[in-house]
């Protein structure tokens, strides 16, 4: 195995071990006498030490070693965990984590200060050993000389004499077992670096595009025949299965991320002086690893917010006849091709009236808008840029990350975020995420003979309006759709704008005025942020699964387009950036209203 692969495996495992250490530490804080937790900590540290030693990471190995020694003393009952020792151990664990991060990525993670706390632990172990060594009994052998103990199953209730007499026997046992079995067992699963999977998925994407082209060519060549012949059907099916197989390899359980929150919740709750319990649900649901990585920061932010703004202090809760301990729930469920992740708290809920006042104060909405907006739209205002620069900055939440950043991160993976809140009862954020980023379900349509794709995640319906269905309203055009009046806009008008910063005020009605009275308007109804808008195009084509590719750095500033794909015909097809278009439109609508007001 190549060195860098071994390295990746080491770090993957080290990260898992560190997460597990964190979880165990949190548990240990609640049950300081729990032998099983102490045993598990001891074992984990031992493994980490050995692995780090194997990689030549001496500092990390030594640091894990001293921590292992401390837990060895705790195991033996020579050292008692009081809160002071616990805090030292907790800090030491942080240092351990920081060391792993630094070794993995020294450019972005500074080397932690470790020598002080390491010496402190060394002194502690030495003192404990000096005090605890009884004159005659066991020699104070270091744990290094007793690996057998660790390998043995947790022997309970066996008197020590018997245990001693059994030890040589046990070793013999093992020797014969190894001799009898010629085959050595390797683990049933393998670690694969994500980069390799990214590459594999990329190749499958290319393959799908080529497959579409071949089938397209075939159809042209055999235009007289209907449908595919068997070979084509096979290729179609195989590529589909291959694509799904590769996508499924990239799926990880959301639990891998959720588990990290035990520690985060504990730290934030301590910092804020609140009493909070974390409940995890649906940990077994699976999602693409990269999506999980990208949204992880948002999730941390939502959880921090829930604790510092959502959950009340214990006194306040008791006064409101709520249990003193607040509950944060992280849950996941899979609905068709989507994964829904929810962050809920049972705290004070969001006061829509306050949101309104704040938005008015910051000039994010006009007084007219404020009057007109229903509560479910008002609450969405927290996602506007510039809204969540908190008035009170606490150590935890005052980090300058607004909810708009959270929203953008989620939209980047093709997801959406929703919020529901009941005053006095709590708040729930729902993240609706695609299972996989690689393949998107889209609707193809044409505008000026060019084919575009729009992600189905944002479309709620398609419809065809007659010119007479559409009427002027004071800030543009509207049509009745299923009994509701919705804004409609010609995509052509957006695309032909000369300036996005200062668009021509009349742009929104331009195409409408130029069309004949009997014209029909194929329209895609977009649903975004609880608002519906109809986008008028030239022609609707079919639904299609596409592999979206980024536009590349040269075009990174392009507006209204998020990426591109290649169609079966060989044509390049741009993918609409729905959030981008919607943000632009809302901004225009707002500025009209404000200038008319």
């Amino acid at each position: 195995m190549k060195d860098d692969e071994l390295r990746e495996i080491f770090f993957t495992e080290a990260q898992e071990q560190y997460d597990e250490l964190n979880r165990l530490f949190v548990e240990l804080e609640q049950n300081k006498q729990d032998k099983q937790i102490i045993d598990s900590l001891f074992r984990l540290l031992h493994t980490l030490k050995a692995n780090a030693g194997g990689m030549g990471f001496e500092q990390l190995a030594q640091f894990a070693h001293i921590l292992e020694d401390v837990f060895g003393e705790i195991k033996k009952g020579h050292l008692h965990i009081n809160s002071e020792l616990f805090n030292t151990l907790f800090r030491a664990n942080d240092v351990l984590g920081a060391m792993i991060q630094h070794l993995k990525d020294p450019e972005h993670h500074e080397a932690p200060k470790y020598r002080g706390i390491k010496t402190k632990l060394e002194v502690l172990v030495r003192k404990t050993r000096a005090q605890a060594t009884p004159p005659a009994e066991e020699t104070p052998a270091s744990d290094e000389t007793q690996p057998a103990r660790e390998a043995a199953p947790p022997a309970t209730g066996i008197p020590s004499k018997e245990k001693k007499s059994r030890r040589p026997l046990k070793i013999e046992d093992e020797a014969t077992t190894v001799a009898a079995e010629e085959q050595l067992h390797l683990s049933d699963s393998i670690h694969v670096p994500v980069k390799k999977l990214d590459n594999l998925l990329n190749l499958v994407g290319e393959l799908i595009i080529e497959k579409d082209r071949i089938i397209n060519l075939y159809e042209q060549l055999t235009a007289q025949r209907k449908g595919y012949n068997t070979e084509m059907t096979h290729i179609q099916r195989l590529t589909n299965e291959l694509q799904h197989a590769v996508m499924s390899i990239r799926l990880v359980q959301v639990g891998t991320l959720f588990k990290k929150f035990h520690r985060i919740v504990r730290d934030v709750a301590n910092e804020e002086g609140k009493h909070v319990r974390l409940v995890l649900k649906g940990m077994e649901n699976e999602i693409d690893r990269n999506i999980l990585q990208i949204i992880s920061e948002s999730l941390v932010h939502l959880v921090r917010n829930a604790i510092s703004h959502g959950i009340e202090t214990e006194d306040e809760r008791v006064k409101q006849r709520k249990p003193g301990q607040g509950i944060i729930t992280l849950s996941a469920e899979t609905v068709k091709e989507e994964v829904r992740i929810q962050v809920s708290d049972d705290g004070r809920g969001i006061d829509v009236e306050k949101i309104k006042q704040k938005a008015l104060q910051k000039g994010l909405i006009s007084p007219e808008e404020a009057k007109r907006m229903p509560p479910e739209q008002l609450i969405q205002l927290i996602f506007l840029p510039g809204f969540s620069s908190a008035d009170t900055v606490t150590k935890i939440s005052g980090r300058g990350v607004g909810m708009d950043v959270v929203k953008r991160a989620i939209e980047r993976v093709g997801g959406q975020i929703d919020i529901e809140s009941t005053l006095g009862k709590g708040t729930t954020f729902t993240l609706i995420l695609p299972l996989s980023m690689a393949v998107k379900s889209t609707l193809l349509f044409q505008l000026d003979d060019i084919t575009y794709a729009i992600p189905l995640a944002y479309t709620s319906a398609v419809s065809t309006f007659r010119k007479s269905d559409i009427h002027y309203v004071r800030n543009g055009l509207a049509a009745n759709f299923l009994g509701k009046s919705i804004s409609v806009v010609f995509l052509k008008d957006i695309f032909s704008l000369k300036s996005i910063q200062n668009p021509d005020k009349q742009f929104i009605v331009k195409s409408f005025e130029e069309t004949p009275d009997d014209a029909l308007f194929p329209t895609i109804i977009i649903n975004y942020d609880q608002k519906e808008i109809g986008i008028i195009v030239d022609r609707l084509l079919q639904q299609k699964e596409i592999v979206e590719k980024p536009l590349g750095t040269l075009l990174k500033d392009a507006h209204f387009v998020s990426g591109a794909t290649i169609l079966g015909t060989g044509e390049v097809c741009l993918v609409l950036d729905v959030p981008g278009i919607m943000h632009f439109l809302f901004k225009q609508i707002r500025s009209y209203q404000n200038s008319n007001a």
């Binding site: 200060k113 020598r115 002080g116 706390i117 390491k118 010496t119 402190k120 060394e122 002194v123």
Partner: protein, 119 residues
């Protein structure tokens, strides 16, 4: 360039006294640590030319600090500070890489004298 110092003592009074004494002879006190753990971390972070190190610290002995500093290759001059009646500590410290020692209680003049001897 003025010499840079790290002062390690758990008593604010002693830290202040030592700081004043050393500042008065043109030294720059970069940092002051009140326990062994931060003493060690600060020593590596600040890389001072001189460390005054009290032996009795809340979390460990000055001797422990000394051993770690020397075993990790720190070359700063180290003056061990010990109380009367702790001569064994002084001996142990000198064996483990301390450059000088001073016995508490001491006067500013005595401290300055010891410092100038090692620097």
């Amino acid at each position: 360039m003025s010499k840079k110092v790290l002062v390690v003592d758990d008593s604010l009074y002693m830290r202040t006294l030592i700081k004043d004494a050393l500042t008065s002879i043109g030294y720059e006190v970069l940092g002051m640590a009140a326990n062994g753990e931060s003493a060690i971390d600060m020593a590596f972070e600040l890389q001072p030319d001189l460390i005054t190190l009290d032996n009795i610290l809340p979390d460990m002995l000055g001797l422990d600090v000394l051993k770690t500093l020397r075993s990790e290759g720190l070359t700063a001059k180290i003056i061990m500070i010990s109380a009367v009646g702790q001569e064994a500590v002084v001996e142990e410290a000198m064996k483990n890489g301390a450059n000088e020692y001073i016995i508490k209680p001491f006067t500013t003049e005595q401290l300055v004298e010891v410092v100038q001897k090692v620097m």
